[in-house]
């Protein structure tokens, strides 16, 4: 085949080039492409996983925040209710105490009045009896004196 020779085709070189390419192909396939593609795939998987994880985390965070809001809201409501109840209680208690105090004050007043009354009546009794004694005494004194004056006058006249 003269045309092959003219074109520079030499079966030995052809074979050598083919072998060269085959070696290159198998070496690259085994030692470069496979690890490389595995690596790229692995990494893209990892990146996918990472994105998924991040999304899940975000979702979880959102739900937690929502929950937190709910809990806070509930706590606030409860606090408000508690406060209201405490206020009411305090009011009630204050009212009760006021009433009690009033009642106590009333009873103390009554007692005081009663004591005063008692004291007064006692004092009046005492005063009456004392006055009576005094009157009796003074009457007695006056009477004795008058008797004695006559006697005295008689005595004096007798002497005189």
């Amino acid at each position: 085949m003269e045309i092959f020779a003219k074109l520079g085709i030499d079966w030995k070189l052809l074979l050598a080039q083919a072998v060269n390419f085959a070696i290159l192909f198998f070496v690259l396939k085994r030692y470069a492409y496979q690890p490389m593609l595995d690596f790229l795939e692995e990494r893209s998987k990892r990146i996918d996983q990472g994105i998924k994880d991040a999304e899940a985390a975000q979702e979880k965070l959102a739900s937690i925040q929502e929950e937190e809001k709910q809990v806070l809201k509930a706590a606030r409501e409860e606090g408000r209710a508690l406060l209201a109840k405490a206020e009411e209680d305090a009011k009630k208690r204050a009212l009760a105490r006021e009433a009690e105090m009033e009642a106590k004050a009333g009873s103390i007043l009554e007692e005081a009045r009663r004591q005063i009354e008692e004291e007064k009546s006692k004092m009046l009794g005492e005063a009456r009896s004392e006055v009576a004694a005094l009157v009796a005494l003074s009457v007695e004194k006056v009477l004795r004196e008058s008797v004695d004056k006559k006697k005295d006058e008689a005595v004096i006249r007798n002497r005189a």
Partner: protein, 250 residues
């Protein structure tokens, strides 16, 4: 200045003549193997430097292969051949553009003129390489087709019974398909060889006409052509591979 279609022989290794194109082929292969294995060994999840570049190329290439095959598994199956063809053809095309093309070489006496045998000649500017690569590609295509469809169903692409629906037309189309498989080999061979060889001749001629500045646009052009030819060879291989795995529709 001497232009030879055949790659020039530098020396012989036993019975094997070592041509400048074959030498470049070996050097490019060695470079690719060393770079490839070293990179693959030291992969880090945060890419740096060369790994970045290679990753970009790989991912673009893998996307391309996937877009043609529409199948992740098949893409991984085809990828090594496509990538090797692309990288090797690209680098060997560009190797022929390095300074010293056609000017640095062994002293040589040719028909009374003192001339030189250049050390640098793109591997793709040698029919031995392009023919070898085409043969490998077309053979791989056949085997891929047989592996995917089974020998009988694959053979039915080429041998169509004349007693069924499209009758003789189907048979003729089958024969044409068979011829086109041979045609693929020849077109693969001469497309790559023609483009790269023509580029080298063009550059050599320009260099001899006006040594400065004028060859520059052509140099850029050839960088582009080298890339395009690598893409074309790889893409056609990919398409043929995919076509071989798909059954003909009747």
């Amino acid at each position: 200045m001497e232009i030879s279609i055949a790659a020039e022989k530098l020396f012989s290794l036993g019975a094997l003549p070592i041509t400048n194109a074959f030498l470049i082929g070996i050097l490019v292969s060695a470079l690719l193997m060393i770079l490839g294995t070293r990179l693959a060994k030291n992969l880090s999840s945060v890419p740096k430097g060369l790994q970045n570049v290679v990753e970009v190329i790989f991912e673009a290439l893998l996307d391309l292969v996937e877009s043609v095959t529409q199948d992740k598994k098949q893409a991984r199956q085809f990828f090594p051949l496509i990538a090797t063809i692309f990288l090797f053809v690209l680098l060997s095309n560009w190797a022929g553009l390095l300074p010293g093309l056609g000017t640095v070489g062994l002293a040589h006496e040719h028909e009374g003129h003192a001339t030189i045998i250049p050390f640098l000649r793109s591997t793709s500017a040698d029919l031995n390489f392009t023919l070898a690569l085409s043969l490998i590609t077309v053979t791989t295509v056949q085997f891929t087709g047989i592996a995917a469809l089974g020998a009988v169903r694959y053979a039915k692409k080429f041998l169509v019974s004349p007693f069924h629906k499209p009758y003789v037309i189907g048979t003729m189309v089958g024969v044409l398909e068979l011829v086109s498989e041979i045609g693929k080999t020849i077109s693969f061979t001469f497309r790559l060889f023609g483009n790269v060889f023509a580029g080298e001749v063009l550059l050599t001629v320009m260099l001899h006409l006006v040594p400065f500045l004028l060859p520059l646009p052509f140099l850029f052009l050839e960088v582009f052509v080298g890339f395009i030819q690598a893409v074309v060879f790889a893409m056609l291989t990919l398409v043929f591979l995919k076509m071989a795995t798909v059954e003909m529709e009747h």
